[in-house]
Symmetry: C2
Subunit: 263 residues, 2 copies
């Protein structure tokens, strides 16, 4: 562990790890090591931030912080090994859904830093606009995690594991399901001979609108107007396509029910 610049080991080399490593390196942290079970992945990311690539946990050199951005299902086993190897380090995971208690009991300094954003390796993101949600096993640890988060973004908020899981579900609606709707829109537009690109102004305006209006106020469309003729026509268009109609019905009902006028 260095006396001056704190060192950080990135455990994982996927989308989130890549963006975190680059943002932390830009923020003055020294990324001393990148671990991935796949040496090529470790090497690729390590080269971008001047770190040592390793593919065995036993080879991870000591660091002030071990930051885990691995798949949820491997996090418990990876964390168990590294927490035993580096009992003095601050161990922080970045999962929206795993609780703080995923770390073995007795680990001195354990925390969570959940950046609320969608990451693709090929698309740059500005971390300063990403809200980060932190948690720690003690007040002091949470302060340390907050200081780490503040290197990435000014938007840092304390959030307990249960609420973070709820927030993650909110993100699934706001991002994953929204993108799924984009994909279904592309399918239908293509059937009409219209390229997806021509939907982009509508997509942009739909996102821009909820900066100025609450989503409930911004809602438009046939379901909100309870326009059964249009809804039936849409249903008829999609009858042959199970992938589309299985989503169309519940979203229509959900939209309609939210705006149902009392009789």
């Amino acid at each position: 562990m260095s006396v001056n610049t704190p060192t950080i080991t990135l455990v994982g080399a996927g989308n989130v790890a890549t963006h975190l490593a680059e943002a932390l390196a830009a923020g003055g942290w020294r990324v001393n090591c990148v671990f991935s079970r796949t040496m090529l992945a470790a090497e690729t990311l390590a080269a971008r931030v001047g770190a040592k690539p390793v593919c065995r946990l036993e080879d991870v050199p000591p660091a002030d912080v071990c930051l885990y951005s691995v798949k949820d299902d491997v996090l418990p086993s990876v964390a168990a090994v590294l927490c035993a190897l580096q009992p003095e380090a601050l161990h922080v995971h970045t999962s929206g859904t795993m609780p703080l208690s995923v770390f073995p009991p007795g680990v001195k300094n354990q925390g969570v830093l959940y950046p609320l954003q969608t990451f693709s390796k090929s698309v740059a993101v500005d971390f300063r606009k990403i809200p980060c949600y932190v948690e720690g096993n003690t007040l002091e640890t949470e302060m340390r995690v907050s200081m780490l988060a503040l290197k990435l973004s000014p938007l840092v908020r304390s959030l307990k594991s249960d609420d973070r899981r709820r927030l993650h579900l909110a993100a699934v609606f706001a991002c994953n399901f929204v993108n799924r709707c984009y994909a279904l829109a592309e399918t239908v537009a293509t059937q009409a001979g219209v390229p997806f690109e021509e939907l982009l102004p509508l997509i942009d305006e739909t996102a821009a609108k909820v900066h100025r209006l609450a989503p409930h106020e911004a809602q438009t469309g046939p379901a909100v107007r309870n326009d059964s003729r249009v809804i039936a026509a849409h249903r008829a268009l999609m009858d042959h396509d199970a992938a589309l109609s299985s989503v169309l019905e519940p979203l229509n009902s959900s939209s309609r029910d939210a705006y149902q006028q009392p009789d």
Copy 2:
């Protein structure tokens, strides 16, 4: 009908009519009249574009173009009356779902101008970024509708009624259902104690991403990874909330199925 500046009557005074009237007036058309069954609505919009407000179709003065932006279910009856009163005018509706044949048979000049955007009265839109889809009963009429559309936007494309209806369904996915996902995200985030505003960077990035990647490539989240642990945890969070769980399941299945790896 004027010899120089063509005149246009707006039939309707809702969101779409308001934005159309203002964009046309800015584009050099003379909006000579605004019709609405509600005199106050007609007056409000008419005052914004220096037109005559009327609430009886019989009082609509002659115009070169009658542009209909009324609810789909009243369009046939309103168009029948006005087409009989003004047989020489070009009659154009703006509905995504109503066919060209909504106009009575024998009307000389009938067309459609469908602007692909979501409109709220309180939110300004830049019409020059809105794709417009046009149709006409003859080539000459379609040319005239295209010329009208080109006053609004450089993005004008010919589209037949069947395909326009498909495109409208694509817009329902890209806008109405996306906004519904935003609303559900707000509900869940609020339960986590996180204000909706903190989801906006994620919402913006999700929209920005599909400018650079196809939606299918941009998809992330537990359903795509077929992460059954997270999906089950989300389901458990929402068990008590029928409005959320009725949408969660189909969207999870739809997302998962689209990325299913063959065994």
